[in-house]
Amino acid sequence: MEELKLIMDGKRLDGRGFDELRPIKIEVGVLKRADGSCYLEMGRNKVMAAVYGPREVHPKHLADPSKAIVRYRYNMAPFSVEERKRPGPDRRSVEISKVSREALETIIMTEMFPRSAVDIFVEILQADAGSRTACLNAASVALVDAGIPMKGIVTSVAVAKVDGQIVLDPMKEEDNYGEADMPFAFVIRNGKIESIALLQMDGNMTRDEVKQGLELAKKGAMEIYQLQREAIMKKYRTEEEEE
């Protein structure tokens, strides 16, 4: 394979600097049936999140008498990718659903709703690199929209190593041809990053590069957090105005 130059003159293929996010668009409360919902674009990712709950658990034997169970389904529409994807979960979706659920479960006050379920469904309508982070950001907003009591908000972003450089929020080409990919999710509380809720990594990074990546991810997460907040507040403002 010919060497692909992903960085030229200090700029990335799409003109971004190393520490810049892709454009983000967030809409809250876009679905009628769901208890909470959010449509989110992050670069070319287009995802829809819905939250149902707290509600009864089916099948019943899955219910936990001491707290709500949290379920998360990351699902790609067949038309969301270059080559049509066969419907239904594949191994990748199952892994992403697991780590995403674990990240969100840390902030949901599940002990307030014993024997019930909080179901989070995310549909990837168009996928680009970082779809799991886009989904987590959308899901987090949908949880707020559904009024689920939470100890903070989850905000997610990836960093990558590309042509030896650590960059924020990699797009498809950087993910495919870069040297490493590292998605994070953070818990943000009182406007500050408190801890890491999701951490994965694959590729090749030195200890220092990882450290550099974490710092960059935190910066990006704070920017996304502001957009999440604005979108939520905009909805509530609109609702108040309508009343």
Binding site: R33, R55, P78, S80, P87, P89, Q126
Partner: protein, 259 residues
């Protein structure tokens, strides 16, 4: 309040309004909800459309790739229609393989496209008997506030109207627009006693799943029909349904012509 009591209350309300010839959202019996169509919403798809029918939302994406023709139609493209009623769209949908509801939805939408000969499949032959274009029509429900059928059919034909055959990607010459030559339109009605309610909402469906779907083409001919639900249909209502379906389809077809 438990869900079944809510259903009872909703049904009583729908029925009491109907006794006065009114629908709970103020529509006329034969009136569709507001229709919004956005096309080309998914750049990675060969064609796509998001349809809003009131609060019901359905997205359809079209993917195309070369593949083998059916043995009995060696010179024609292949249509494969699939519907996913993902649990995001309704509290009653479950994850898992397609159930009878989503299979029926996909098959009726498919029939409308296929039987109206909306797509000129002869123009999708690459090499007779060896290679033709496969068209995947994927219906993805987003919000089910009733009448997914008509919303899906509308999204399907809208997405097809904006589909580009991705010939370049497969080194098969220049891209070209998918040859669409008919505009099938699906009209679904709910039967409540002697009344025919066109484009029923979720709340109206609380009185029962008594549906008839009729699909007509641009010559007002019928290309598909499906009675769906446990009820009996009188001959008289059958004829009435044909008339209303032709008329409503004509109106909706005007919207399609603007795509």
């Amino acid at each position: 309040m438990p869900e079944d009591i809510l259903v009872d209350i909703r049904r009583d309300y729908v029925l009491s309004k109907l006794r006065d010839g009114e629908r709970i959202d103020g529509r006329k019996l034969d009136e569709f909800r507001k229709i919004e169509i956005k096309t080309n919403v998914i750049e990675k798809a060969e064609g796509s459309a998001l349809v809003k029918l009131g609060d019901t939302q359905v997205m359809v994406g079209i993917k195309m790739q070369p593949g083998e023709p059916y043995p009995d139609t060696p010179d024609r493209g292949v249509i494969i229609t699939n519907a996913e009623l993902v649990p995001l769209a309704s509290p009653t949908f479950e994850p898992g393989p397609p159930d009878e509801g989503s299979i029926e939805l996909a098959r009726v939408v498919d029939r409308g496209i296929r039987e109206s000969k909306a797509i000129n499949l002869e123009k999708l032959c690459i090499e007779e008997g060896e290679k033709v274009w496969i068209i995947f029509i994927d219906i993805h429900a987003l919000d089910d506030d009733g009448n997914l059928m008509d919303a899906s059919a509308l999204a399907a034909i809208s997405a097809l109207l904006t589909t580009t055959v991705p010939a370049e990607k497969f080194e098969l010459g220049d891209d070209y627009p998918l040859p669409v030559r008919n505009l099938p339109v699906s009209v679904t009605s709910l039967l409540v006693g002697e009344r025919i309610l066109v484009d029923p909402t979720r709340d109206e469906m609380s009185v029962g799943n008594n549906f008839v779907t009729m699909i007509t083409d641009q010559d007002d001919n019928f290309v598909g029909m499906q009675k769906s639900g446990t009820f009996l249909l009188s001959e008289e209502k059958f004829y009435e349904l044909m008339d209303v379906s032709i008329e409503k389809a004509r109106q909706i077809r005007e919207i399609l012509k603007d795509i």
